[in-house]
Symmetry: C2
Subunit: 381 residues, 2 copies
Amino acid sequence: MPFDMNLVQRGARLRRSPFFEATQRHGATAYTVYNHMLFPICYGDLEAEYWHLIHHVTLWDVSVERQVEITGPDAFAFANLLTPRDLARCAVGQGRYVVITADDGGIINDPVLLRLGENHFWLALADSDVLLWARGVALNAGLRVEITEPDVSPLQVQGPKARDVVHALFGDHVLQLRYYHFLETALDGIPVVVTRTGWSGEVGYEIYLRDGSRGDELWERIMEAGRPHNIRPIGPSDIRRIEAGILNWGTDMTLETNVYEVGLDYLVDEAKPASYIGRDALKRIKAEGVARRLVGIEIAGDRIEMNPTWWRVKAGGETVGNVTSAVFSPRLKKNIGYAMVPVAHAAPGTELRVKMSGIGERRATVVPKPFVDPDKEIPKS
Amino acid sequence: MPFDMNLVQRGARLRRSPFFEATQRHGATAYTVYNHMLFPICYGDLEAEYWHLIHHVTLWDVSVERQVEITGPDAFAFANLLTPRDLARCAVGQGRYVVITADDGGIINDPVLLRLGENHFWLALADSDVLLWARGVALNAGLRVEITEPDVSPLQVQGPKARDVVHALFGDHVLQLRYYHFLETALDGIPVVVTRTGWSGEVGYEIYLRDGSRGDELWERIMEAGRPHNIRPIGPSDIRRIEAGILNWGTDMTLETNVYEVGLDYLVDEAKPASYIGRDALKRIKAEGVARRLVGIEIAGDRIEMNPTWWRVKAGGETVGNVTSAVFSPRLKKNIGYAMVPVAHAAPGTELRVKMSGIGERRATVVPKPFVDPDKEIPKS
């Protein structure tokens, strides 16, 4: 039965992806909304999608990662103003995982940045209007830039057989892409950018479509190339990304948190010579030390369904923090997740209680992240 | 059967309203996402909800109208910078319907602005991150302001019996509120702001809850006061707002449109002495004249379901524009809506064709807005 779109939309306010028809045809059963756009998050069975991702190869419609494009003679200086990463160290043809920081050090967004030219950048966004932030900042920044949302729509191809699929599509040179590098190319004349990135912890690529009128064609071309490798469409897997220690903007990190609290310290280049928005705040926060940290947790007991709200974390009978994401890992056979807690409760081994709305209280333990270490073999079944 | 939230969310990224539990208990059957928050849009039958709105009184959870609060010694100057309306003419205790404009004149948002003090403003937002825009603008504006999202969550009480309900709740003085005026008060100790505003074209009020922990209590208190007047919860009625000529940000107006194109010229105070963002662009656009306009249309033939995408508008065989909103009006017994078309096709009486995806082409005619004139009696059945 096709998904009833009336359950999530009324009228034409929510935008559709160039792959929308394809996702309907291929049986998407749930859509959320992300960057004002419909986002297919499930094709019927989240656990089956997870197993497929870790054993085979999967295709995700992540057009909702809308781009902010920065061009103009001062585009480098402007992009470098938006993030604590030193973009002087990002060559053309490279990308970086970055945070966009507010003046108080809060995290506005955590996009993948691509440097397409000396003065040409894309930010592939999480769910906040960085277009408005960047245009607001640019008003009085005294820099000559153009800031727009281009016609660019990414797909993710993720899983251990992802290399085989992009090899079949783009030939040998794509296999030489190093992590966070990209190439600009075309597929049957469809203009794309291929990046060695992803939100899964598995081997993965993203294919950024540069012509929204050709979405259906690109989707089917990838499915066809993937058929010998058992490709299937899925939604992004929260199970797999939590296993990998990957954070989700809007819950694990927000405008009210900073990189030091959520463990993204490496996104601040301490020696960056240029100034950037939030620098003074981040220097102060680092010097003073943080009062709370996002930690890994294991929640005892039967398998849980993913938390639909921030569950309260208690210690010694008091509420001390929140669970931001938690889910059952079928291969670890444990409930795993993240909690934001005071530093006094952040050491591995610390015992906590989690109050799950409508379920009750459970024991939880602080553990190191990631849950699945890419350098260690974990049984995949 | 309760609504399966897994159809629109995965994890805790989407925020819940202080009235969320109440909307579930009262049978909401569909939720969209608006300002990163779940938004109940239907309680089972949109046409029944429409009839209830025009005959009785209705309660809507519009907590998704998130507030941007502007305070600090230069709050007036800063708020006045964001909009073409002259806020010097907005006294404390008054509100205004405003547009927030970009430097190119595009519409970033169309909030209701409330002036709570000389230097204290709220913007009740449509679906875009004005918090980020405003904070970006403030960075280098040289003005001393604080810009935050306060704990404020509006409800709408709309319909011909809305006066009776707010009278029962707040006493005689609320009946003296003029359109777009407000009062700060409390209900059983629950702090609220009551405004004479709404998104329905009917008599209506909004009750802004100022303490998110008391949402359930406020909701039930209003339902109780409304029971003798036959109150019921509904989602916002697109049928009624289109009849009234009210626009929806994100479809009828967007960042790519300006006030002159969409007929909101009255939101520009031409004689405003202070400068504001977008002034030069709007002056130029006005002087040059616009190339396209949002017009009222009637679509011939059987009743339509509301457009889920922008349907194409054709004239002389060519695509010339888009239908932004269209719906069947049960009392007018016509399909009504808005289309963005070139000025050459904007005169009342102009014949157009509308291509409805999956349905086919229909004849349409340009007509004046609003479809229901508040000064003329329209049969209500």
